[in-house]
């Protein structure tokens, strides 16, 4: 398999030395549709793990269960060794549809998580300004969401999640409502951001290229019922020019390999 470490089968992966999120035996059924069955997963600290799979494989459901936004029918989620079943300060969510308040400025949207925690205005706006600059939106502090493009709106969503200083960032297909050019730029920025921020990212996507491009670890889910089918750790050097990754041989091989594996689920 060359430089790609690949583990087969639905059996649980041996826990890495330091895993921040531990998912054990999670199952979820909607009516008579089994969305997830017996999911065991560990998410290593400080890494970006993608949940990848065709639609209907329950990847967003799994992410929302980890976030505490959906209740699982069975199994447990533990963050830093502590069981959780509701949203907590150690996790922050980035929404597919941005979920920005249209009546609030960029600054207030970014500071909203802190506003809910009762941080005083001066302090939270100071923090917000820092993260607005971090995601490349300096100068747009007083704009309203409708004045921004899709890509910029999602940057606001990301800055909001960063500003609460959570250990784990949960991103639910954050680029699916963003146009292709902006998505590329955003992915490059995300790679840069990861090296600065030292946070754990859990990223849901249906794009193989996107997953391979940004992830340390890719969890492939198979649909109906959603199960872990493969875990892939693409060993791609992301230290240099992010443009180069698209032409990296390991990158292209891994994309192809995942596609071969997923093909069977696509009608």
């Amino acid at each position: 398999m060359g430089a790609t470490a690949l583990r087969n089968g639905p059996s649980p992966v041996p826990a890495p030395i330091d895993s921040i999120v531990e998912v054990r035996g999670i199952s979820k059924t909607y009516g008579n549709v089994e969305a997830l069955r017996g999911i065991d997963l560990d998410f290593p600290r400080g890494k970006l793990t993608s949940l990848l799979g065709p639609s209907g494989c329950g990847k967003t459901t799994l992410l929302k269960i980890i976030a505490g936004l959906i209740r699982a029918d069975g199994g447990t989620v533990a963050i830093n060794g502590k069981r959780v079943s509701a949203p907590g300060p150690e996790r922050a969510f980035v929404f597919q549809d941005f979920a920005l308040m249209p009546w609030a400025t960029v600054t207030r949207n970014v500071a909203f998580g802190l506003e809910l925690r009762g941080t005083n205005k001066a302090e939270r706006e100071e923090t917000a300004r820092r993260y607005i600059a971090e995601v490349g939106l300096a100068g747009f502090e007083d704009k309203y969401p409708h004045e921004l493009s899709g890509g910029m709106r999602q940057r606001v969503g990301l800055a909001r999640a960063l500003s609460v200083d959570a250990d784990v960032l949960l991103l639910d297909e954050p680029f699916s409502a963003v146009d292709e050019q902006n998505r590329r730029k955003f992915q490059e920025d995300l790679i840069r951001l990861r090296t600065n921020q030292n946070k754990t990212f859990i990223f849901v996507t249906h794009s193989i290229e996107e997953a391979v491009y940004i992830s340390d670890r890719i969890v492939l889910l198979s649909p109906r019922p959603g199960r872990v089918s493969q875990i892939i750790e693409p060993e791609i050097d992301r230290s240099g020019d992010p443009e180069r990754i698209h032409r990296d041989r390991h990158y292209l091989d891994t994309v192809d390999e995942i596609w071969q594996g997923l093909k069977q689920y696509v009608e």
């Binding site: 949203p87 979920a99 308040m101 009546w103 809910l116």
Partner: protein
């Protein structure tokens, strides 16, 4: 007559001209258009009054003169002093009660089942028919007039608020939950601001209905205030004075609604300012 028509024509033809020259200042245009619209209306009224459409239909200029006459002799001020008390009281009570009740019904199923059917019936009913009943129970004083305002204003405010709260943006609710917002924070920081455009639409309709209520009460219950002024001048065939009174309450109602819109944009939805 011919003079006034020509003025209007000139004003109308001015509009596209200034439109072309002032493309940058988008605010100039609506104001000019509004003035043209008012001038056009006044012109048509003047013409209709001169034809005349009816012997009981005064011209615009006579009505304006009558209006200043009413202002000068103080009868308009006295009438408004008496009309505004039940009107303001009724509208303010309806606004707070209506938004409060509507919000509770939107958030709480049991409240919805208990309260909403009553207001749906009230909204469908020709509520003016209740006014004699209100008089029968509460007499002819301030209470009856305030109640008349409220039974007209309240249903639309409650129902709009209820619908707005019920149809709040679900993804914002999830967002608030994911950042650990409390129930109270969810209501005050997400639900009410998100619902405010529809709540304010309800408030505008409710305030307009409140004006209807107070005039109806003064025509039907007690001949006081504006209602009395209208009845009095009609009985004396002072049609210009009667129309001046009617026009003045329409103008007041309109100004109140414009003010309400201004408050909404200022306080609740700053992003729609200038949009």
């Amino acid at each position: 007559m011919a003079v006034s028509i020509r003025t209007d024509g000139e004003a109308a033809s001015l509009a596209p001209l200034s439109n072309r020259s002032a493309t940058g200042a988008s605010w100039d245009q609506p104001i000019l258009l509004r003035l043209v619209s008012i001038a056009l209306f006044a012109g048509v009224w003047e013409v209709a009054g001169r034809i005349p459409v009816s012997f009981a239909f005064p011209t615009f200029s006579d009505t304006i003169i009558a209006f200043f006459g009413l202002l000068a002799d103080g009868s308009l001020a006295t009438a408004y002093l008496s009309t505004l008390q039940p009107l303001v009281l009724g509208v303010v009570l309806s606004a707070f009660l209506g938004v409060g009740l509507g919000t509770i019904c939107g958030l709480w199923r049991t409240g919805e089942w208990l309260v909403i059917p009553v207001f749906i019936v009230l909204q469908a009913a020709p509520v003016a028919a209740f006014i004699p009943m209100v008089t029968f129970v509460y007499g002819i004083g301030m209470t009856a007039k305030t109640l008349a305002v409220m039974i007209l204003a309240l249903p639309v405010i409650v129902l709009n608020t209820y619908k707005a709260v019920r149809n709040v943006n679900g993804s914002l609710l999830v967002m608030c939950r994911s950042f650990m917002g409390t129930r109270w924070q969810t209501v005050s920081k997400i639900i009410l601001p998100d619902a405010s455009p529809v709540i304010f639409a309800g408030l505008r309709l409710g305030v307009a209905a409140g004006f209807v209520g107070v005039v109806l009460a003064e025509l039907l219950i007690t001949p006081t205030g504006i209602g009395d002024l209208i009845t009095f001048h009609r009985s004396r065939a002072d049609y210009a004075e009667m129309y001046a009174t009617i026009a003045s309450i329409i103008a007041l109602s309109t100004l109140t609604l414009v003010f309400l819109q201004w408050v909404e944009v200022r306080v609740f939805r700053p992003e729609s300012r200038g949009a």
